[in-house]
Symmetry: C2
Subunit: 415 residues, 2 copies
């Protein structure tokens, strides 16, 4: 029943090391690492030099190796490795969300053509088995949304920020602790969360979206006044990757959200990740766990290796339905928009204004905007503006017009 | 690829009705309910009388029916149905935790002999896919504990109690809302949680334990002073079903726990359930969702039906390992023990006493006790005593003796 797996491993950082220890030093799985390819020939390692090689071909041309585990940082190099491994009929397990998000359909077609599995649980929310659950457990229940905190670095920084530490200090502390990279752009500007969101959208709704078409806004522009506003209202700021179904349309983006005290994600702090799944029958469910780090990631990789012993593959059942959902940006959401410069607030059209606050040096307004207006801007690089999504359900055009007609215009109406 | 399922349904309460609507009124699954067996011939139902029958044999003798979904309350009747259905080569999906916990090995052997599946995700923690995750996802990672809040009724009552409502009032409110039965014993004395724990132990550790060998203590004896103590210490009282691995031993029981403010279960309130899984690599993970109610339960049943289309069955991989774990009670835990009657506190030997408080009408002490001393007592029926587990890790004999030797005896030492 169980399949004997002979593994070629690319990369021997923390995750690779953890994986090696479990696989080769226990009898938990019928799987052994035969060869490990690394870059650095001089680095001291915990096992002898005879285990290592330096050429990808040593694995890719070894017919005995039937599983490639790819754990390297460089996503271009990883792409070449994954392509060749799948083409040569080897199963692939990867944790590289950027690579997978950018080339998903190509790679899964390649896997299908060669009748092998391509698994990547570790690429989204570390140890949380969210891909597997979306694939297996929620395959019949009509999902309405998948959202959550999927980047531990920004959640660590925001946890500090929510308790009053400045963004710059929190980032520095995260870097010292090894939670943030020297160049933290991919994390703090929401790119990493976006790659993960692309995979969640695929497995939740059966839709392939290109990362470049998905809006991402991170946490670099958060000012102390924004944190103060949140805290006065009993909100915490969290970076949410969020995908929802509105009719037959799928909407999805990454942005800071104000999270209410009674929301399940309010207390998800530090390097923890949380994914919330809403479905018509099962209601709201939360999966919480460590999103990064060597062991949580290794555990997810291990789980994929284990599943391969039983020839597991993702079936992408939701991609095979007759009515294909479409990706859209024409919905309304309620936001908080703040700036030192009061004029700057006018750059985003508000279709329904709720609150407006002015002072010397800090102004904000809250109200309803159209997402397609927001997504035109590169907010990560607009120093003078900050926005966060407020806790209200999204509305489509019809719902919004109805809402607008039913509610008095409280302050001022633009457009 | 997909298997056509023809279903015989026993029971047509809320869950059955929900299931019928999804299965027969949508094309989500290739599964139809052919016949529904109910007891009450006079009850008005949402669909015509032609769908209903009153004899189990109408389903059990129908060769076209290849799946029996059992959703009735009477566990003796359910047992007879499940036995016969499996024997006749029909798959079975059940939500009846009592039945399954009491007859697990018999029923799964019967399923195996007849080469059919016996699935019961809905029986533990409603919509939370915990059985499936223990089966599929944590099958390689060495689990150290599975615990959590698996009974919505008691969690609803405790939520009220934590906010100052008396036990009696909270129970009455729960009954009015339909969260508690007229005779709430199974819930409030921890039996329901225990049946679920037995299933968690099987899927987490591969061990079959008989429910009568597992200690269960519920929430009936909680006094206002106990709630006050908890609240002063920033604890909330939660009824935990808890199983842990200590060496090669498995320990497990149901009892009230004092939960700290920073614990992931602290905020799990009302009818929500939460299961926390700890494993060596993936660290601590929490699964949160609604634990009861027609739709959450129907969603879990639906998920089993859906999995059957692909011939899914539990593999009980952890039951097939060479070294079998054993069930044990010889470990130490830290508890809070309270009574009006100061002498009553002496009935339980404390091996290490931490705090002692005396007043007219309310006394308590905290410290370390041996579990096998506790489990001798039928605490559910001892009005004068209340105990709750304090937030400290369990210790085996060796760890406890080491701890004791290293710590000064603060107040008083017994034995």
């Amino acid at each position: 029943m169980r399949k004997q797996l002979t593994i070629g491993l690319f990369g021997f950082g923390c995750v690779g090391t953890g994986l090696y220890e479990v696989l080769n030093q226990s009898n938990l799985l019928d799987a052994k690492i035969k060869r490990i390819i690394v870059k650095d020939r001089t680095k001291k390692r915990i096992i002898g030099a005879e285990h290592f090689g330096y050429e990808a071909s040593e694995i890719l041309n070894d017919e005995e190796i039937n599983l490639v585990v790819e754990l390297i940082n460089d996503s271009n190099e990883a792409l070449a490795i994954v392509r060749e491994a799948l083409s040569k009929g080897k199963h692939v397990v990867s944790a590289n969300k950027k690579l997978i998000a950018e080339h998903l359909d190509e790679l899964l077609n390649l896997a299908k053509e060669n009748n092998v599995s391509f698994l990547y649980e570790a690429s989204v929310a570390g140890s949380i088995p969210i891909i597997r659950n979306l694939e297996e457990y929620y395959n019949n229940d009509s999902l309405s949304s998948v959202q959550g905190i999927v980047n531990g670095t920004t959640n660590y920084i925001l946890t500090q920020a929510n308790y009053g530490v400045s963004y710059a200090d929190a980032l520095q502390k995260a870097q010292e602790l090894g939670f943030a990279e020297a160049d933290p752009t991919l994390d703090v500007d929401g790119f990493d969360s976006k790659f993960k969101l692309v995979l969640l959208i695929k497995h939740a709704f059966g839709l392939t979206v290109q990362p470049e078409n998905v809006f991402n806004y991170g946490i670099r522009q958060i000012k102390p006044q924004d944190v103060k506003y949140a805290s006065e209202k009993d909100y915490r700021i969290k970076l949410f990757a969020r995908a929802e179904k509105i009719g037959n349309k799928i909407v999805g983006f990454v942005a800071p959200h104000f999270i209410k005290k009674d929301h399940v994600a309010y207390q998800v702090d530090n390097e923890f990740n949380a994914v919330i799944v809403e479905a018509s029958f099962s209601d709201r469910q939360l999966f919480l766990g460590k999103g990064a780090g060597s062991f949580p990631t290794a555990s997810a990789v291990l789980s994929d290796v284990s599943a391969l012993q039983y020839d597991y593959q993702y079936e992408y059942k939701k991609s095979n339905t007759e009515t294909k959902p479409v990706y859209a940006e024409d919905f309304y959401l309620k936001i908080y928009l703040a700036s030192k410069d009061i004029q700057a607030l006018n750059e985003i059209p508000f279709y329904f204004l709720d609150e407006k606050f002015q002072s010397s040096g800090y102004n904000y307004q809250t109200g309803w905007v159209k997402f397609s207006d927001l997504s035109k801007f590169d907010f990560n690089n607009i120093e003078k503006l900050f926005f966060a999504v407020l806790p209200e359900s999204f509305k489509d055009e019809e719902e919004f017009l109805k809402f607008k007609a039913e509610n008095e215009v409280l302050v001022n109406e633009i457009a």
